[in-house]
């Protein structure tokens, strides 16, 4: 095996290999099994263009190094040359599987900066769509994660059901993926006729489907063996690394921004924060499954109590927030999605900084996979639920 080790040590990777200590001279006791391999950027299990450099001893992982930036588009820089409203669609291109959540965070941040509040009906619509989006995001995660671990079939089931959500999005705002659903100050579109009926129908449709996914996986012996005690991270470690979202909650920390700092209309709904115990891959799976059910609960309450009224607050035609800065964060499907916006009083933001949950959570990869096997790296990358569009921005 060692005959094949030397071809990755070009200048790029040796710069990147800081924590793999490639530079240390050969030990007196030669280890013939040590090898460095590149996983990605073109690899079926890295969910896009993530490159993970693995230092292996046989199949055991000694260390990892994530090389990111293959999908970098300079979204934050673009913001400095766009007006606040013009920048809104760009946000959707970050976490493209949870575009609605992204838009919500940005709109609310700018609203806070402008000191306006969206009308209640708009908030309810926002909650419904965001939670639908959370389910869609978790479904996509479940399908790809199961596929990584080798179960092909759940992928098709989740995509079938995700399609129903995308249909609702399409009917509401004309786009399936990059929705641009919300505007600063509320929503641009009133719900279409039959929106509530369709959402209710979706609720009754998808609940048994979630049971179906669980029937395939939750008690499956192979699934248990592949996920239990794999990629463990303790609560303290998770907090120290800034991990948020389901990954943090699976470690037993009951931290959900929807409860901790309620935004939109979340304070009006009754739901629970599912948490795990061990912080392993299986717990993260269970937490996300439970979250899908909780999202259904929230949507049900929201649809039943949706108030009448305007959907747009009074917002000036030209958005010129006062000089100042704001940090606003929401609970996106993947974790805490924060926007830090600095305004210089002009029509364009002076600086926008996004705190993407995937990017921060990806930091925990190395901690999670050390000492595990290559196959576990795949499972752990899947379980962190990264979207490279968001990591690289």
């Amino acid at each position: 095996m060692s005959s094949h080790t030397n071809d990755t040590t070009n200048d790029v990777s040796s710069r990147a290999l800081s924590n793999l200590d490639l530079e240390t001279p050969a030990k007196p006791y030669l280890d013939s099994n040590e090898l460095i391999i590149n996983m990605g950027p073109q690899h079926p299990a890295t969910h896009g263009v993530l490159r993970v450099i693995l230092k292996l001893d046989g199949e055991k992982v000694l260390g990892t190094e994530c090389v990111i930036g293959y999908l970098h588009r300079g979204v934050e820089k673009i913001a400095e040359n766009r007006t606040y409203a013009m920048f809104n669609p760009y946000i959707d291109r970050m976490d493209y599987v949870a575009a609605v959540s992204n838009g919500l965070g940005y709109c609310e941040a700018v609203e806070k900066l402008l000191n306006v509040e969206a009308p209640r009906r708009a908030k309810y619509i926002r909650v419904i769509l965001t939670e639908l989006n959370r389910i869609a995001s978790h479904q996509l995660w479940l399908g790809t994660h199961a596929l990584d671990i080798g179960a092909m079939t759940p992928l098709f089931y989740t995509f079938r059901d995700r399609e129903e959500i995308l249909k609702i999005f399409e009917k509401y705002c004309g786009a399936r993926l990059t929705t641009h659903a919300f505007r600063i100050g509320g929503c641009q579109y009133e719900t279409y006729a039959g929106f509530e009926k369709e959402v209710k129908h979706f609720l009754t449709y998808v609940a048994p489907k979630i049971d179906e996914y669980e029937a395939l996986l939750t008690t499956n012996r192979i699934w248990l063996e592949r996920t239990k005690n794999v990629g463990m991270i303790s609560a303290a470690d998770a907090i120290a690394l800034g991990v948020t979202g389901p990954v943090l909650r699976a470690s037993g920390v009951q931290w959900d921004l929807r409860k901790a700092q309620p935004y939109a209309a979340y304070s009006e709904f009754d739901f629970e924060i599912p948490t795990g115990e061990n912080g392993d891959t299986y717990d993260r799976y269970l937490v996300r499954m439970a979250e899908m059910r909780q999202s259904l609960r929230i949507i049900e309450q929201a649809v039943n109590r949706i108030p009448e009224g305007p959907i747009m607050a009074k917002v000036p035609k030209v958005i010129k927030p006062p000089v100042g800065e704001i940090y606003h964060s929401i609970e996106a499907p993947k974790g805490e999605l924060g926007y830090f916006i600095v305004s210089d009083g002009s029509t364009q933001p002076y600086r926008v900084r996004v705190r993407p949950p995937s990017f921060v959570n990806l930091q925990a990869l190395d901690r999670m996979v050390r000492g595990l096997l290559v196959a576990d790296v795949i499972a752990v990358i899947g379980t962190i639920d990264i979207v490279l569009g968001e990591v690289d921005r």
Partner: protein
């Protein structure tokens, strides 16, 4: 020369034993063609069945319900550019798929489709099968090495270790079945035909012999054979999410298709071993219990009825095709296919009726032979379906878990079963 051809037809032994070279060659050709067709059918079936498990349609465009898809795929693969990586070991890269293919096809010389429907009845039949199929792993290991690339090498080493480990449990399970062959006569046999015949003599399939024992041994074999063929959930060697495609990552075109051909041929071969050892090989259900001529006749109708069933399904499919003119050619094609199946069904039924009366006539012999082959193929087909079902249902094991199961679970159990079988066998006789 015609007498040379005809003289064998009345014989009840394999052409290999009869020393009839003409028929031995014919059998080899028939089996080669049959296996190739079976692999194509399996390819289509796997894609269709997997698709329906996963709420998709699978191939629908090439031919009615994608029936011609395997042929289209084969042509595509043959016309594809054959890429050999620059730093690969050219000769070894070239020869590796052939090793696997040769090993996969050589085992068919001893598979008994009937008491005389085999190329040869080797005295060491089952050992020969296991030995030759263990050569297939050489092709995989060498292919991974010759590619001169990380992922193929890891895949090759994985599958090499995996196949060697599971061969142990598999061999012990086989031994406990072979032990059972010696129960009535005192001497056991390794001959594939002899194993089926001893099941007939003891009037029990070995899966039901000493009830849990035979079943456990069969179960171990059934698990080990999935690992042997690198299929899900043990498809570590070609785990696409981990190793892109494992040992054949660098292969393309015809050479890649040879790997696939070898894999499917091996699947059929190991299923045949399982059928021969535990499921009574070519025997129809209850050959000793329901052995009146009436029952013989009823069971001899099965092949014809099966084809009739298939023909009916094809006809229903024809009728349900959309009326659009776009589908006209497909409709005609499916109708012709259905008619062909119906014709075959008719032919088989006619043979069944004709072969009913006279005992030594050619028709009777023919009828008998068709029955043997039919039941054998049917049992193997069940295994083939199971392979697909497993693949659709289960996630993939991790490599160390796979090894742990192989060495720490399967090996002790199969050893225990072997010992207990021996003790029970001694006590009974």
């Amino acid at each position: 020369m015609p007498s040379f051809i005809m003289s064998y037809l009345g014989s009840t032994v394999t052409p290999g034993e009869a020393g009839n070279q003409f028929w031995a060659l014919m059998y080899v050709l028939i089996i080669f063609a049959g296996v190739s067709v079976a692999v194509m059918a399996m390819n289509w079936l796997e894609r269709k069945a997997l698709a329906h498990f996963q709420i998709r349609l699978g191939p629908m465009r090439v031919g009615p319900h994608g029936l011609l898809q395997p042929i289209a795929d084969a042509i595509k693969l043959m016309l594809k550019e054959d890429i050999i990586p620059a730093n690969a070991d050219q000769f070894v890269f070239w020869v590796a798929p052939l090793i696997g293919l040769l090993a996969a096809f050589t085992v068919y010389t001893v598979i008994p489709f009937g008491p005389s429907q085999a190329v040869s009845d080797m005295n060491i039949g089952i050992l020969f099968m296991l030995g030759v199929s263990s050569l297939g792993v050489l092709g995989i290991v060498v292919a991974g090495w010759a590619s001169n690339s990380h992922y193929p090498l890891i895949g090759a080493l994985r599958s090499g270790a995996q196949m060697v480990s599971y061969e142990v449990a598999m061999g012990l399970a086989v031994v406990s079945a072979i032990l059972m062959t010696s129960l009535k006569t005192g001497t056991g046999t390794l001959s594939m035909i002899g194993i089926v015949q001893s099941q007939q003599q003891q009037s029990v399939w070995f899966i039901f012999k000493f009830f849990p024992l035979g079943f456990i041994a069969f179960g171990i074999f059934a698990i080990a054979m999935i690992a042997e063929t690198n299929r899900a959930p043990f498809d570590m060697a070609e785990a696409e999410s981990e190793l892109t495609a494992g040992y054949h990552t660098e292969y393309s075109g015809l050479r890649w298709s040879l790997f696939m051909l070898a894999e499917y041929a091996t699947m059929i071969a190991v299923s045949s071993i399982a059928v021969t050892l535990w499921l009574g090989g070519w025997m129809r259900p209850f050959p000793n219990l329901l052995h009146a001529p009436m029952w013989d006749f009823i069971f001899s109708l099965f092949p014809g009825l099966t084809f009739l069933c298939l023909a009916t399904i094809a006809f229903i499919g024809t009728a349900r095709m959309p009326a659009h003119s776009f589908f006209r050619i497909q409709r005609i094609g499916l109708a012709v296919f259905a008619a062909l199946l119906g014709f075959l069904a008719l032919l088989l039924l006619v043979i069944a009726v004709a072969g009913r009366s006279a005992d030594a006539s050619l028709a009777a012999r023919f009828n008998e032979g068709i029955g043997y082959v039919y039941w054998f193929v049917l049992k193997v087909a069940v295994f083939m379906y199971l392979f697909i079902w497993y693949r659709a249902t289960w996630p993939r094991y991790r490599f160390d878990q796979l090894m742990r199961i192989g060495w720490k679970v399967m090996l002790p159990i199969s050893l225990g079963v072997l010992v207990v079988t021996a003790i029970v066998g001694v006590l009974v006789s």
